[in-house]
């Protein structure tokens, strides 16, 4: 499904060039669950943004379903992000003035779904994350764990095949964090691909396939199931 070939991403910091990604090669098959671990600044987030088509490689190729993403224009990239990729962020990124339901509804709105179809889907999604009774609550009326569950429901709105989670438990206490991870893993059980970025080895080791990042380089961890 995903193929990174010799991908590098460079940043200029002052007059120095930093390799956020340094010659990364990676193949991800449909339905895989993999974690990316490493210290902060090692390039984990950059890798995730790149996989999510929010960023482009400076060198190398990124093939999504065999198509070179460098050739895609804004419209195509936007459509791929909308329909094929779901994001879950460390800081939830909910729109503060919209209710839980409104936040979950956003991707469907952007995709032009008619209202009745959206309503039904939003209800099902909020039920699936256990927030059916919080649909009308605004983010500031929800706990951290609840917010992240809204974000997960939103990520699944258009039934994406790839879910990218960037430190999804980083802002939660341990109990809530475990709940969120359970929820995410339940998503994988539905046959989606899940990429989990975390600096927490305990969480990372729950994934069957584990990647390590150091200074922009990617290593397959031993014991990983490829």
């Amino acid at each position: 499904m995903i193929r990174l070939e010799h991908v590098s991403r460079l940043y200029a910091v002052g007059d120095q060039v930093v390799h956020a990604l340094d010659d990364v090669n990676l193949v991800i098959e449909p339905g895989e669950y993999l974690s990316v671990m490493g210290p902060s600044g090692s390039g984990k987030s950059t890798l995730l943004h790149l996989l999510g088509l929010l960023d482009r490689p400076d060198r190398g190729r990124y093939l999504f379903h065999g198509e070179d993403t460098a050739r895609l224009d804004d419209r195509h990239l936007a459509r791929l992000r909308r329909r094929h990729i779901g994001f879950v962020f460390q800081f939830f990124h909910l729109v503060p003035r919209l209710s839980a339901a409104g936040n979950v509804e956003l991707p469907m709105m952007l995709d032009g779904w008619p209202l009745p179809r959206r309503r039904a889907r939003v209800r099902r999604l909020l039920e699936a994350v256990g927030l059916a009774d919080r649909a009308r609550h605004r983010p500031d009326q929800l706990s951290g764990g609840q917010r992240q569950r809204v974000a997960i429901a939103r990520a699944l709105a258009l039934d994406p095949e790839l879910v990218l989670a960037d430190e999804p438990t980083g802002n939660l206490d341990q109990a809530a964090g475990h709940e969120i991870l359970d929820l995410l893993e339940a998503v994988v059980a539905q046959g989606r691909t899940l990429v989990l970025v975390t600096h927490d080895p305990e969480l990372g080791h729950r994934a069957p396939r584990r990647l390590q990042m150091r200074d922009g380089r990617l290593f397959e961890s031993p014991g990983g199931v490829g």
Binding site: G52, L54, A78, R97, R154
Partner: protein
């Protein structure tokens, strides 16, 4: 953009409603600009129609002749100059020019008019017998001054409707003897109400023969001679004939001709200037409103950078981002336009009620134009922030605190 029109409107309205005070103040900025334009153009248009009505009530086939050569359009300032006076004999001679239907010698001064212990200070107009025809000004009772082109006119007076009420109440003034300054006059008629003409009250006035008025005021020259000509004739041809005659009589061309067309043109120019000034004032207010929208939307983009990043991650195209922010600006502009239209029309209506006689005439064209301009201003002011939002790097945007 896949986003539906109605959903876009909901998102846009939602973001504006989330900051009600801010949005309201920005709308107010535009609204005040639009209200100013609507209100002032209503007044300007009212004034134009008022002036137009003033002139057309006398008909448009009048030519005014004033002594002296005017440097510019309008009334001559030559009364104090060295030119020959404009006399009753001139007026009598002008009546023989082909195409001339009526000639009204005209002079005026203020004087006390007395009847049985009641005194009123009014305009005394010295005119000729043909005034009712020339000015479309009808006699209500009795008759108008008799024609006396040659010899001394008799001391007859015709009252304006207002003066008649003031001096006589319900009694008939016909046959009464009144005193104008130190002379005695016999009232032979009363005019119908006519209103004011460019500040001259035609009703609170008394009309006497021009010859007597000149003697009464101790003047040599008439203020003006008005000539009514046959409508089928070109005005230039009439003016040429009149000028030839007066030049022959005076030995040189020392009078000024003003046609109704000239007057309307001058007034039209003045009103156009007024409208332009008004438009300029409104433009400045709108500019302030536009800066308000620009500022507000720039702040909004800065504050909602994370949201822009999120929307991009959720699959919004750059065009959608731009459209959403532009939509907010357009909605602010339109709301301001509508509010301003309401304020302006309401204000114009109230002014018309409060100040009697103030000509207020809201123009639909200007109102529509103002609304369009408000929308345009909103779009234009919102363009830069919207483009900036669309060009944000999504990764950077998501990282913003």
């Amino acid at each position: 953009m896949n986003l539906r029109w109605r959903d876009a409107l909901r998102l846009v309205g939602g973001s504006l409603a989330a900051q009600p005070l801010r949005s309201l103040l920005t709308v107010l900025g535009i609204a005040l600009g639009i209200a100013t334009v609507v209100l002032l153009t209503s007044l300007g248009e009212g004034l134009r129609q008022y002036v137009l009505a003033q002139f057309t009530q006398f008909g448009t086939h009048l030519i005014a002749i004033n002594p002296g050569k005017a440097k510019v359009h309008g009334t001559s300032v030559g009364i104090f100059g060295s030119e020959r006076p404009l006399t009753l004999e001139d007026a009598a001679a002008l009546r023989r020019v082909p195409g001339v239907e009526a000639v009204v010698p005209f002079t005026y001064a203020q004087a006390d008019v007395r009847f049985e212990g009641r005194t009123r200070t009014v305009f005394v107009y010295g005119v000729g017998a043909q005034m009712p025809a020339a000015y479309r000004f009808r006699v209500a009772a009795g008759r108008f001054l008799p024609d006396a082109p040659h010899g001394t006119a008799r001391p007859f007076a015709v009252l304006g409707s207002h003066l008649r009420r003031a001096l006589f109440g319900d009694r008939s003034p016909l046959g009464a003897r009144i005193r104008i300054a130190q002379e005695r006059y016999l009232v032979i008629g009363v005019m119908e109400p006519k209103g004011t003409f460019l500040g001259f009250d035609m009703d609170d006035a008394v009309y006497i023969p021009a010859g007597r008025a000149l003697a009464l005021f101790d003047r040599e020259s008439l203020v003006e001679i008005d000539v009514l000509y046959r409508p089928t004739l070109p005005v230039d041809q009439v003016v040429r004939a009149l000028r030839r005659l007066l030049t022959a009589r005076h030995g040189r061309d020392d009078v000024t001709f003003t046609t109704e067309k000239d007057m309307l043109e001058v007034l039209g120019d003045i009103l156009d200037m007024l409208t332009l000034t008004v438009a300029g004032l409104g433009g400045i207010s709108l500019l302030v409103g536009a800066v308000g929208i620009l500022t507000l939307q720039s702040i909004a983009v800065a504050e909602r950078t994370r949201e822009v990043g999120l929307l991009r991650a959720l699959g919004a195209e750059t065009g959608t981002i731009a459209a959403l922010f532009l939509g907010e600006a357009a909605l602010l502009g339109t709301a301001g336009g509508l509010a301003g239209l309401g304020l302006g029309l309401g204000g114009a209506y109230l002014l018309g009620l409060l100040i009697q006689g103030l000509p207020v005439h809201p123009s639909g064209t200007y109102a529509g134009l103002a609304l369009g301009v408000a929308l345009g201003v909103g779009l234009l002011a919102g363009l830069y922030p919207a483009l900036r939002a669309a060009r944000l790097d999504p990764v950077e945007a998501l990282r913003t605190e």
